[in-house]
């Protein structure tokens, strides 16, 4: 049976602007049946999704287990994070005060 049925990975989106979420996989004889089964198997009681799609697993390229180990990141990427530049806000406050610029003219926004 499965010797000819293929594995489909099922993805859905909650909202049109949302990310693609993996639901699970299923066995089906064709993409059309896979789509019908995906709704039955994974979206019986959830809120209706904005979109749903299936991908034949043969067409997904997975990173190898050996390479996965290299995904672990060293703890040296702080300069990529906004928190690293926290001194900026303090500096703006300091400069404002020094030049006598009021809050109405220069707002210092916490979230950049």
């Amino acid at each position: 049976m499965e010797k000819d049925y293929e594995i489909y990975e099922v993805f859905s989106q909650k909202e049109p602007t949302g990310k693609y979420e993996s639901q699970f996989s299923l066995l089906a004889p064709s993409p059309e049946i896979a789509l019908a089964m995906a709704q039955e198997n994974f979206l019986r009681r959830e809120d209706p999704p904005a979109n749903l799609f299936v991908v034949n697993r043969r067409h997904i390229h997975f990173i190898s287990p050996e390479a996965r180990v290299a995904l672990r990141r060293m703890d040296n990427k702080a300069y990529r994070m906004p928190g690293y530049y926290g001194r900026v806000l303090k500096k703006w406050h300091e400069l404002k005060a020094r030049r006598g610029i009021g809050d109405r003219l220069l707002k210092v926004e916490e979230d950049g």
Partner: protein
Amino acid sequence: MSIFDLPAVREDPEQVEAFLARIDRGEKIEADDWMPMDYRLQLVKLIAMHGISEIMGAFPEKEWVPRAPTLRRRLSLMAKVQDEMGHGQLLLRVAEDLIRPFGKTREDILNDLYAGRLKFHNVFHMPAPTWADAALIGWLVDGAAIITQKMLVQGSYAPYVRALRRIIMEERFHAFHGEDMSQALGDGTPEQRKMLQEALNRWWDALLMFFGPPEEEQMPSNQLKNLRYRIRTKTNEELRQEFLSKYVPQIWALGLTVPDETLRFDEATGRWVYRHPDYSYLRNVIGRNRGPRSEARLHLRRSAFEHNRWVREALLARQAVQKEAAIV
């Protein structure tokens, strides 16, 4: 070709050590990671049995769908039965990915079931003669399953954990559904109460057996392995104690009597004392598919498989034609 016949391979002891160290660090194992053949075999045994039990477990309940007392009850029960089949599909997918490297498929899993090599859970060999049995299955059998699954979801094999997370989410509906049916009967007319009490009397031993024999001085080797591989994290007896702590008070709250006059909570040890069922029944009767409903339910499954064969083949034929057309 049984799914349990995995090739014997010589494994590098260092690689096995490294694998066990990953388990000890609490890492999760993926389907394409290297794993000892024995770890794979333990997973296949557990997950294929779990998956097939979801499917066989839908049978005693499905018998009550056309006979449910009201339309509302019928809708809920039908939804629940569909969930169980869905859980079966999820779990079979996880099992299939484990046996796939050896050319084995879902069909091999089903053939192992029909040949008696793959067992399904003991509770699903039992009859469900009244509506109260359907209620009690939803309440206590599902309750026992939830306790087991909450332990298994802590396990080391990531694909199984992902399937269990979805299953556990859906089981929350099953638990309330079963409790709702049982409350209606337990808090109903004297006749309804009697019906529920009789169902409890019928199911009590099977419920205790659900968790398997207690581990005494010597832990069975399979159990030890599963604990070592962190496929499971609690013993049978620990799970049974949890079940008793959660459900005996509910049984009492419904004014029902547990059919075991020795049952009591021992404050000193913090454990339930109870009369053990005859666990040899598990091995000698259920284990050989000789339970009251074993054969009938296997027959139902097998005949569904045979009767629907033409559908599977027709779908494949259509796909083959399309492929051919694409080549031309």
